[in-house]
Symmetry: C2
Subunit: 364 residues, 2 copies
């Protein structure tokens, strides 16, 4: 089978590396001629809304997926008339607009931070009055890695944020005094079979994911069950197919859903070595309607992102159990260009290895 | 870096999938336009002794390796004038001729079956008189998967084998009444760093590998040490770089070396999921001079080859812990087109899973 992928970044690259193992073929569509997936597969260069390129992708593919949640919904629907597209275009539509997404969660009884749509200075004042400060003001669309977000602590912040963001459609969200940031990765096959990986604890800095720890010391069976219940509702409601990531805040006594990504996710990269089946392989199995693989952990793992520039390779590889992933991308400040997963037999050993690796991989 | 690979079969394909993870690029040279590595990388089509193609490969590559031990030694030496070639061409030369190979082992004090070079009917009779029957008559060169081999039990077999093989340069080997067939996979980096994976027990049928079990119940620390000592001598003598496979017979009280393959090896495919670092990744690290990864086992694994035709995918994938590898090759009798590795937490659980998988994957 040939799988078409909208987007040619590292997520598409890693989907292909998992799919090649299963004997599948890949074709990518991305506007960037230098997209990293082109190093490992057939890359077609074109805009996501170029109907000629989309039709060509459909002709070459038995099924189409995407690795980028800002693909135009219209393009996904256009393709879906020609070839099955998974995850379903509606998942894109819901996740692309933070207001639509939060309304969707509310309808499913999934707790989210309080929020208000903001499209005028007056609505902003009303939102501040209703939700209070601190709060977060975000663009409704096209946010990623913390871009397009302002934390509002004072009335002065409100004025400054409005100056900066005012032209766009915005959402104001109540600030959640969370203790930990978690994510739940789930996958649903065309057959309806559903699996969940263990909850992951994530550390961000400057809005970018730095560290992911599956089943960290915050993990309890109750939290896992709660997160799975939320994800399960989303999967069922959307008749979802593929990997779905949901980011959550843990406040110390409950989980609150922040947002979802209808795709494989950075906080699931540890699954390549750390789980019996990786998010990438299960995504491929799911969109082909094949049985899903076990999501159990294999030992203890942690993942550190490589941001900006590659660490000294020899120093990383010399740590026993360290697995370096380099995406073949040029170095650039704030850019995700690789990650390192380290695996160990015990949590203690994992901590020692992470302590050895952190100053090498993420020295800032 | 760009790694050139002589040979575009499944071994090259799996080297590339491991190397892509590390951010490396690949270019393959193979006479077959349909070579499976072409599905995942840049395939140049040409004969292994086409100097124009070899020069092109050298120009495009920072380092060259091979996945096929019958590459002409002259081609490897030609390339080695232009770009580093690993494993060293002398390893090819030694392993391509069974007589040279056995003399090489003898010089290193490594036990091998008794043998005699045979190039005439008269030499064949002398060999029979010296080594006795049963014995095995083989072509000195270009044997693989049991091809070009005759087992001699009677004088009638001797005559028939001479009829069939007579024109070629031959070797007669004393028959070793072995209990088990084992292999040791080793790897040596450009820096001299050396690692060994656990001994693997192998089952062949019709000369083709069917099943590999690392650290089977035949394993003892003494056998491991003995096999590592043999491999270590070969690695050092050849100033070897890359993965080396050595096949051994275990007679119940000692190990006898059968042959070596200067490349990644079918009996090491289990390392993709079953070892902390796969043979493919360590081969790439070795030829780039990077630190080698841990070769420890991760749980218990077994590998079953997929010969001839693909088993029902859903049935394979439905076994928890089963990892299907499909090489993207057409089905054909006796052809290796994939493998399945299954991983478990205990040996008992592994046996249960292998018993479930064997009738599906290898029904004959």
């Amino acid at each position: 089978m040939t799988i078409g992928v909208l987007g040619g970044g590292q997520l598409g690259r890693m989907i292909a590396l998992a799919g090649y193992k299963l004997g599948q073929r890949f074709v990518f569509l991305d506007p960037g001629a230098e997209s990293t997936a082109g190093q490992v597969g057939n890359l077609r260069v074109g805009a996501y809304d170029n109907e000629e390129r989309l039709s060509e992708l459909a002709r070459k593919s038995d099924v189409v997926t995407y690795e980028f949640e800002n693909v135009p919904v219209g393009s996904a629907r256009f393709l879906n008339e020609l070839v099955p597209v998974f995850p379903p275009p509606r998942a894109l539509e819901v996740s692309q607009d933070r207001v639509t997404e939060k309304e969707f969660f509310e309808q499913l009884g999934i707790p989210t931070p309080g929020f208000a749509a903001v499209s005028s200075r007056e609505e902003l004042e009303q939102a501040v009055a209703r939700l209070g400060l601190p709060a977060v003001l975000k663009t409704r669309r096209f946010g990623y890695d913390g871009k397009g977000q302002w934390v509002l602590r004072t009335e002065a912040d409100v004025a400054a944020a409005w100056e900066a963001l005012g032209a766009a459609s915005l959402i104001m969200e109540a600030f959640v005094p969370f203790q930990r940031e978690l994510s739940i990765l789930s996958v649903r096959s065309r057959t309806g079979e559903t699996r969940f990986w263990p909850l992951v604890e994530n550390e961000h800095r400057d809005g970018i994911l730095r560290l992911s720890l599956p089943k960290s010391d915050a993990w309890t069976p109750e939290l896992q069950a709660s997160a799975e219940a939320f994800a399960g509702r989303v999967l069922a409601e959307l008749d979802y197919v593929g990997v779905l990531a949901i980011e959550l805040f843990y406040t110390g006594d409950k989980l609150i859903v922040n947002e979802m990504a209808p795709r494989v996710h950075n906080s699931g990269h540890w699954t390549i070595e750390g789980a019996e089946t990786s998010q990438f392989e299960n995504h491929v199995r799911a969109i082909l309607g094949q049985p899903l693989g076990s999501t159990r952990m294999v030992g203890y793992s942690g993942m550190i992102n490589v941001i900006g520039k590659m660490p000294p390779r020899d120093a990383v590889l010399a740590v026993e159990g360290a697995h370096l992933h380099a995406y073949g991308k040029d170095a650039a400040p704030g850019r995700k260009i690789g990650h390192v997963t380290v695996r160990a037999d015990t949590r203690r050993e994992l901590c020692d290895k992470l302590e050895a690796l952190l100053p090498i991989v993420d020295p800032t």
